[in-house]
Symmetry: C4
Subunit: 278 residues, 4 copies
C-alpha cells in the first residue's frame, strides 16, 4: 500500500509537477513560461542531482537543455556545484552563451561548450560537460575509449578526443569563448560523446534523460574497459551493428524499458519521492 501510494504520488509529480512543487514565480529568466518549460526545468534539476550522485560530476561540470519552446535558447543553472542546483537557479541563455537576464548571478565560464553545440547540432536537446573520472586516463593516453558493454553501445565505433593545444596552444584548458566552443563542437561532429584531453568530456543527446544515461554508462564502460585491458589479450568490442541495435531499443522510449526504467530509479534516489521529501 505504502508503495502504491508512493508510486501514484511519484507519477502525479511527474505529470503535474507544478501541483507539488513551488511554482517558479519570477525565479527563472525573463522569457520562461508554460507547463512544458516547468517540467523540463524539473528534469534538468534532477539531471544535475543524479549526475552528482552517480559520480559523473563532483563540484564541477554542468548540464543544459535546449529551451522547449525556443530553439535558439538553452537552460542551465547559475554557477553552482551540480549537487546543489535547485529550480530557482535555472537561467536562460542565447546561442552565443549570453544570459538573457543575469541579474547578480554568477555564470559558468565554459557555457560556450553548450552554446556552440546547440548551434551546430539541431538534433541535440541536452548537453553535458563533466570531469567524469575514468574518461580522463583515456583522454591522455593513446588507447581509445571503445564500448565493451551493451549499455554503452552508443560509443561505437570510436570516441574523438579534443586537444586544446591544437586550437589555442598550451595554456588554459577551459572552453571560455565561442572559438574554443566551436572547435570542440567540430571535434564532436555528429557523435554523442567526445573526450577533452586532461579535462573530461562532453555528452549530448536528444533528451536530458538520454544524456544522463549516456554519461553514466560512458563512465561505467571506461572502468570496465580499463579492467579488461588489465586482463590482457585481445578483446571483443561492441560493434557498430550491436551499437545501432541498442540505440534502436532506447530510441523507442517505451514506458518501463531502457532509459525510462533506470531514470525512474535515479530520480527517486536523487530527489526523494514526494513521500520521503515530506
Amino acid at each position: 500500500m505504502r508503495t502504491a501510494i508512493r508510486r501514484a504520488a511519484w507519477a502525479l509529480n511527474r505529470l503535474f509537477p507544478a501541483l507539488l512543487m513551488l511554482p517558479a514565480l519570477g525565479a527563472g529568466a525573463g522569457a520562461q513560461s508554460g507547463p512544458d518549460l516547468s517540467a523540463a526545468m524539473d528534469d534538468l534539476v534532477a539531471a544535475n542531482r543524479i549526475l552528482y550522485r552517480q559520480g559523473v560530476v563532483d563540484g564541477f561540470g554542468h548540464i543544459s537543455i535546449r529551451h522547449p519552446e525556443r530553439k535558439d535558447r538553452f537552460l542551465m543553472s547559475a554557477s553552482l556545484a551540480p549537487g546543489r542546483v535547485a529550480k530557482a537557479d535555472i537561467m536562460e541563455f542565447d546561442l552565443d552563451g549570453r544570459p538573457i537576464d543575469q541579474r547578480d548571478r554568477s555564470i559558468y565560464s565554459e557555457r560556450f561548450i553548450h552554446s556552440e553545440i546547440y548551434k551546430a547540432r539541431a538534433d541535440v536537446n541536452a548537453v553535458l560537460h563533466s570531469h567524469s573520472p575514468t574518461v580522463i586516463p583515456f583522454s591522455v593516453s593513446q588507447v581509445p575509449l571503445r564500448p565493451i558493454l551493451n549499455s554503452a553501445g552508443f560509443l561505437a565505433p570510436t570516441v574523438p578526443v579534443f586537444e586544446m593545444r591544437r586550437v589555442a596552444g598550451s595554456g588554459s584548458l577551459l572552453v571560455t569563448d565561442g572559438m574554443r566552443g566551436k572547435a570542440l563542437a567540430e571535434t564532436l561532429a555528429d557523435r554523442p560523446v567526445a573526450l577533452m584531453r586532461g579535462h573530461g568530456n562532453v555528452v549530448v543527446g536528444p533528451t536530458v534523460q538520454r544524456v544522463v544515461a549516456r554519461a553514466i554508462y560512458t563512465e561505467v564502460n571506461a572502468r570496465l574497459l580499463l579492467q579488461a585491458i588489465t586482463l590482457g589479450g585481445p578483446l571483443i568490442y561492441i560493434d557498430a551493428e550491436e551499437g545501432k541495435a541498442g540505440e534502436g531499443n532506447r530510441d523507442r522510449n517505451e514506458a518501463g524499458h531502457a532509459t525510462d526504467r533506470i531514470w525512474q530509479l535515479w530520480v527517486e534516489e536523487a530527489m526523494g519521492t514526494p513521500e520521503t521529501k515530506r
Copy 2:
C-alpha cells in the same frame, strides 16, 4: 533487549510474513495463492533489493523464482528497476514467458532467459540475469573467470561464455525470444553461472538465497581475480574438490551457517527490520 526483540520480530516475520506485511490482495497474478507463495514472494522482493544494494544489478537485471506450487510457472517483477520492486509488482509467467495476467503492466523483454532455463533445468528454482560489473571484462576477454575465493568455489572448474553472434549474428544482444533463451540455456548447461559477452551473466540455483549469494560472490571473485592477475605470475585456483566441499557445506543449509548467516544480514540491510520499518 532491543536486539532480542528485533531478532524475535525478524524471526516472526520470516515465519509468518502475512502477519506483519499487507496481504497481496489481488495484487499479484491470477493463479497465485497460499502461505508458501506469500513467503516466496517476500524472498523474491528481498532478493531484488539485496542485489541492488550489493551492486550486482543497477537499474537493469531481473531475478525470478519458480512458482512454489506449480512447476510450470515462474514469478518475476513487472518491468521495474530491481531496487524499486515491491510485492505488488510480482507477476506470474508460464514457461514460454507469457504473463498469466498482464493487465496494463510492462514486462521485461528478456523474460525468455528465465522461461528457457526453467524448462531445461528441473533442479533450478531461481534465475538471475544481471549486468554484474566485473564479469563484463571477463566476458569480452580470453581470460577465463575461475574461482580463487572459497566462497566462489561453485565456479569451479570453468564458467562458459554465451556469444550472441554465434546464435543470431551481430545485432541486439538482448535475449528477446525463446530461440535466444534456449541457446543461452544450452551454453549454461548444468552449471550455476554463465557469462554473456558484452552484457552480463545468468546465475541459477536451487533457492533464491543461493542464487543471490552466488551472484554476489561471482562479482567479488571477479574483482579479486582481476587483482591477482595484476600481481602477475602463476595463481592457485580453487580446484574441483575444494569447490565441491564448499558446496556441500552450503547444501546442508544449517541455521546460522553458510548462506543462512549472510542472508539474514542482507535482508536486514535491504528491507529494514520490522522495528526500523515502523
Copy 3:
C-alpha cells in the same frame, strides 16, 4: 557544547558501560562476571561492528578475545554475521573450542582457529579470522604481501601463507577441528598476521583494539601494494627497523595517539554515541 557533552558521555560510556547499556543479565555464558568482563564484551561487540563497517569482514569472519579473568577461556559471538552481533550473543569457550554453555545457540564451525592460537600464544589476547578482500589475491599468488605503509609496519619483514592442501589435501578449506587449527597456528608462529590461501587471513595481537587496527591496515596495505606493483619497477618497503619503531609507538598506548585515536573514531561510527543512540 553539544560536542563536549557528546564526548563526556562517550568517555563515561567507555569507563562505566554498565551505566548506559543494559546489563547482560543471564545473557552470556555461565562463568562470565565482573566489570572488566562487561567492558571487554563491549569492546568485542564494537570490534565486530567496526570490522564490518570497514569492509574487513562481510557476513563471514569472527573475532574473539581471551577471557580477561580466565586465561584458559575465550569469548566470541554465537554464529552470526559480525555486523549483527550484540552483547547478548557473546559466548564463552574453552581452549579446545568447546562452548561452556551452548544452550540452543549455533556456533562458528571454525572456532578452532581461535582456540589453537590462544593455546600456542600466551602473548595473544585477541584473534580475528576474516575474508579481508584484498589479501585474497596475495594468498593465491607468489607475490608476498609486504608493508609499504607506515601504519602496516607490523607486517615486516614477511607474512606467511597457510596452505590447507599441505595439511589435509584438496577438500574443505575450513578450519573445522583442532588439527587444522594447530597447523594454522604453526604457520602463524610468532607473527601478527598469516594469510590463508583462497580463504582470508588471521590477525592476532595483545588487545582487541590492536587486532582491529592491524586487520584494517593489512587490508589498506594490500590495496596500496597492489597499486604500487601496477606502477612497475622496484619498490621501497617498510624495513624491519621502521616496522619495529612503529610498533614501539603503538605499544606505548598513549591517550589520543596511535590506536587510541582511531579506535575512538571507529567506535563512534560503528556504535553511535550515547546521544545518537537515543
Copy 4:
C-alpha cells in the same frame, strides 16, 4: 523556497558564524580573539571534516592554519581524528611547535611538520599532513606523481619525495622534532605538495580552502594517473603553462568559480546546513 532559505542561512552562517554557533568561550587557547579568528577556526573545523569525508585522511592526519592575527602562531586541533574535530578542540602553537596553553590536552606528535613549514614559507597560510591513500604507491616507487588532470595542474612540473632514511636513518618515519620538520620543509621547497615515502604527503597553500582542494585533487590525480599507466603507452601530462593557467584561475578567487564553488558543496556535506543541523 526551502532552498532559498537554506542558502540564505548558509550565507549568513558564513558571514556571521558567531550568530549561529556557540561562542568558543574559553574553549580555545589563551591568545585567541576577534571575529576573523572565529571565522578562521570555523573554516579549519570544516577543513578537518571535509578531508575525512573525502577520504584524504582517515583517523590520522592533521591540518593547520596560520593565525590570522599573529604570523608567528598557527592553529590546529588537539590530538583527535580529523573527523571528530570541533571548534573547542582548536589550539594555538608557536613556530617551534609549542602549545600556547596546553592544559591537559594531548597534542599531535608531528606538529613540527607545520611549525617548520610556516617558518620557511611566508606565502603559506595552511598546512596539511595526510596519509592520502593513492599517493603512497607513488611515494615508494620510482614513478613520479605528475598531473594529468586540469584540476591538479598545481602538481606541474614535478612533486618531490621526502625520504626519512636520508635524514635520520632507518627507524621511525614520524616527523617528531624540528630537525625532521626542517628537512621536510627543505624537500618541499617552494612547491605546493611533497610526498613522504611510505607515509603520506604534505600539502600547503595560501588559504585553507586551497589546501583542501589541492589535497583532494592530488588524491584524485594519483588514482587517475595510476589508471592511465595501467592503460600503457605514452601519456600527455598537464604541462607547466597549463598548470600555471589553472592556478591563475584559482588565484582570482571569484564567487561561484573554482575553489569557491566546490568549497560550498563540501562544507554543506561535511557540516550540514543550519537547517539540517537543527
